[in-house]
């Protein structure tokens, strides 16, 4: 907004992305409003709207409430809080800024993490009257895990403690003591008042004891260079551009390093080496490209590459593994279950992912490591994970772009968590698949059948086992090679260490799925009779075998009917409260959305239902 500056020559200016964070009511939004206002970056019509809104929604009586400049959602204005991150843009003579104003409430931590993930610097606000709070620590920890290395500790509302130096000093000492293990390379404490503008754009006369920089000067000059150029070349292939038979280019953005025409590159997953033929931009071929550039690369050799592959320099390759350890920030009310199959986005690749173990949860207040079986909303933990196929990555502290991932629910598609990879696990990198000479198809051909998993799911006493037994007997009589896995029977052996909590049910089905898969490898038709209440696990088993080999059979009996039959007396016990986590009672059953076979049992005899199942198997070409 400096009109002295000629429009064309601002090319030298760099960009600083920062966020404001800290606890509720520490004045984050007010600070941004104040920064924009004092930098003369608020337009007249916006100011008059602000004055109008301050009367209606403001929390400061007649005064202008600068927070309303950024709290743009209706619900935020009504409640006087920040719910989601807002992005504001401003430019001074020295720098351009993108500010992410993030919410302080613990409930909206995911939105704070969203704002922090792309920032280079954090302003952590602390209310001078309240000092360091749990949210101050939580946000500082998240900033640290997300790789931010520069922090401004803005001790706000210094006017409300009579501009006392000792209050400021005490807070700084307390913050530093706790932040010393977070690995920040710079921590700059500044006493401010967002409401009155002290030490924001100009030095306050009320704090003569403070000799450090004022906030805006500091933001304009702090060096946060991340040296993305000096890091090894990494290029996640985003999209294969193939407009005709003569052109095949790999479109993507260099996330680190530089590349020149003619340079050798390696496809990280396969290890295949080739070299760069052309670096194509719209303007024409380029001699080189650097971190941040979006280009299209053509290669000298015809190699098999698609979306999700990572190109790297042969001398400095990323790790490739299907198991690694990572920090996870969990962002969903739905608990993280070890063993449950989620989807992960790592670079441009989407792959199934499972937490194989939670090593520890971090107590955000003390930094202590706690044991945990599951993770809840806003928990931060260090975990071991396994992906469906090997992926290429770098540790997050070396490369934010190739070391990060998000976790997505397979059914709702919600983003559930964010991960920062620490290191690959050796058991993943060194255990290779041992190819066998006789394969699944040879084994199945010898038995003259198509292997399959026939998965019966439904409530306890719905009739699964009865039907499964009849079907197996019919198949056996017809000369098929079969096996029947039954929930109760497996819990006597393989799964006898498991209970009925959600986490144990997930692990129960994971083991059953792996066993059933081995049996299809042996060429068998495997009948599985399990309550298997969660869709995610049934889908996980489906994902273990080839398309068409998993036949989901929903044995659909209303719970009232099951409770009436109650052959094992379990419903009675559940009603009496003597057994817990009973499906359909005090534990959920997620109905299959599109099962291959839907057996409605009311008014049908088990023989008829088995008949119906066998007919469908015949139609699917599996038996009969």
């Amino acid at each position: 907004m400096d009109d002295t500056d000629h429009p064309v020559v601002e090319s030298g200016k760099d960009l600083l992305r920062f966020l404001t964070c800290g606890s509720v009511d520490d004045g984050k939004s007010s600070l941004i409003g104040r920064l924009l206002h004092d930098s003369r970056l608020i337009f007249e019509d916006q100011l008059s709207a602000l004055a109008r809104d301050s009367v209606r929604h403001g929390t400061l009586g007649d005064q202008i409430d600068f927070a309303l400049l950024v709290d743009g959602l209706e619900a935020e204005r009504e409640q006087g809080i920040t719910i989601d991150v807002a992005y504001r843009f401003f430019t001074t003579a020295k720098r351009s800024f993108i500010v992410a104003d993030t919410p302080g409430h613990e409930q909206y931590t995911r939105n704070m993490a969203t704002g922090a993930s792309n920032a280079d610097l954090a302003i952590v606000l602390i209310d001078a009257r309240k000092g360091v709070l749990v949210q101050t620590r939580r946000h500082s920890l998240i900033c640290s895990l997300l790789g931010l290395r520069h922090v401004v500790v803005a001790v706000n509302k210094i006017d409300l403690v009579s501009y006392q130096a000792d209050t400021f000093d005490r807070i700084v000492v307390e913050y530093n003591a706790f932040a010393s293990r977070l690995g920040f390379s710079s921590i700059m404490p500044i006493p401010i008042s967002a409401r009155y503008g002290d030490n924001i754009t100009s030095r306050s006369e009320a704090t003569p004891w403070y000799r450090g920089p004022v906030l805006l000067d500091y933001l304009e000059t702090v060096d946060v260079e991340t040296e993305a150029l000096a890091k090894p070349f990494r290029f996640p292939v985003q999209w294969v551009n193939r407009p005709n038979a003569d052109f095949r280019g790999y479109a993507g953005t260099l996330v680190s390093g530089t590349i020149n025409t003619g340079d050798p590159v390696v496809v990280a997953g396969s290890g295949r080496t080739t070299s760069v033929k052309q670096l194509l931009a719209y303007e024409g071929p380029q001699t080189s490209a650097e971190a941040g550039d979006a280009v299209t690369i053509t290669l000298e050799d015809d190699v098999d590459i698609g979306r999700g592959d990572l190109l790297a320099g042969p001398a400095d390759r990323p790790e490739v593994s299907d198991q690694f350890a990572a920090h996870i920030i969990w962002m969903s009310d739905q608990k993280l279950m070890p063993g449950r199959s989620y989807l992960a986005r790592i670079g441009t690749r989407t792959t199934p992912i499972t937490v194989t173990g939670i090593k520890y949860r971090i107590d955000v207040n003390t930094g202590n490591h706690l044991a945990a079986n599951t993770l809840g909303l806003n928990d931060i933990a260090f975990c071991n994970l396994a992906t469906g196929a090997p992926v290429a990555f770098d540790p997050y502290d070396q490369n934010r772009k190739t070391g990060s991932f998000i976790m997505i629910d397979r059914l709702s598609n919600h983003t559930l968590g964010a991960g920062m990879i620490a290191f690959g696990l050796r058991r993943g990198t060194n255990i290779h698949w041992q190819a066998t000479l006789i394969g699944k198809s040879e084994r199945a051909t010898q038995k003259r059948q198509r292997p399959a998993i026939i998965w019966l799911t439904g409530l306890s006493a719905s009739g699964k086992s009865t039907i499964a037994n009849m079907v197996e007997r019919a198949l056996h009589a017809g000369g098929y090679h079969t096996m029947l896995l039954d929930g109760d029977n497996l819990r006597h052996g393989l799964n006898r260490d498991l209970g009925f909590t959600e986490a144990d049910r997930v692990e129960n089905i994971r083991r059953v799925g792996e066993v059933a898969k081995l049996m299809t490898d042996a060429g068998l038709i495997v009948l599985c009779s399990f309550i298997s209440p969660y869709r995610a696990e049934r889908e996980m088993v489906r994902g273990l075998v080839a398309d068409g080999e998993f036949i989901e059979v929903f044995v659909d009996t209303p719970i009232e009917e099951c409770a009436r039959r109650d052959p094992k007396g379990l419903y009675a016990k559940a009603k009496a409260g003597t057994i817990k986590n009973f499906t359909g009672f005090d534990a959920p059953y997620e109905i299959p959305q599109s099962p291959e076979i839907h057996l409605r049992t009311i008014g049908q005899q088990p023989e008829q239902l088995a008949e119906q199942l066998l007919r469908t198997l015949a139609e699917l070409g599996i038996a009969g």
Binding site: L15, F89, T114
Partner: protein, 312 residues
Amino acid sequence: MDTSASRTGVHQRKLPKQLRRLEAESIEIMREVIAEFKRPVMLYSIGKDSSVMLHLAIKAFHPAPLPFPLLHVDTTWKFREMIMFRDETVRRLGVDLLVHTNQEGLARGVGPIVSGSSVHTQVMKTEALKQALDLHGFDAAFGGARRDEEVSRAKERIFSFRSQGHVWDPRNQRPELWSLFNARIRPGESIRVFPLSNWTELDIWHYIMLEDISVVPLYFAKPRPVIRRDGTWIMVDDDRLPLAPGERPEMRFVRFRTLGCYPLTGAIDSGATTPEAILTETRSARASERQGRLIDGDETASMEKKKREGYF
């Protein structure tokens, strides 16, 4: 814009670093969409942001042709020069354009003058847009909105999820970390994608100038017939604008900072006839870009309300 791939020789880029980063970010977002969705579409509003977005899209997929159509929701009240520019642009670039008008609204006689701005916008823009998206089954739609335009836009994700019925739930947006966009949806759901999220009005004009991008001539000052209404200049673009007794259009040197339906879009006094002059003028402006948009002013949260109902 020449879209041929036949250029030879090495032509190194000359953009300033910040615009280069913004350009690359937008291109990355667009490529993500084409890699993840089955039927994307680009909303083309004919304005300066649409011109920049289209320019970036052609760069993103070069040397392939644009892999999706453009969609213009025509309220039948756009400036005549906008429609001329639209048709000329489509011809020059050889891209596919779909034009959709809410025929049912048209038949009911809905318009900005008789129905008022809010009903007109709801029926002829929001409803029309939803009709068009449903009609073609688009699962992703690019929009040229920028976060610096308006407070509720400042809160929106780059990949902004819409449930069935195109509803936006601003209180429950998907977390969006790094550039790992979650593009997964179920049937009937869709994503609105905003590749220009991090651009500012100044960035747009700076880029238009350096890349020599064509925009509708209405952005540049020249003498135009206008009348004074609600503290702004309304251009008399055709004879559908009723004049009050004694109200007489005068010729003034004006230009538009944003473009919409002509009876709802105010002009500003200006002598800026080039992108350079616009940049200088914008730098010293004391009013925000959307001040001339009468549809925003009804109440402060009116943009959020429109967006929740499906407006871009």
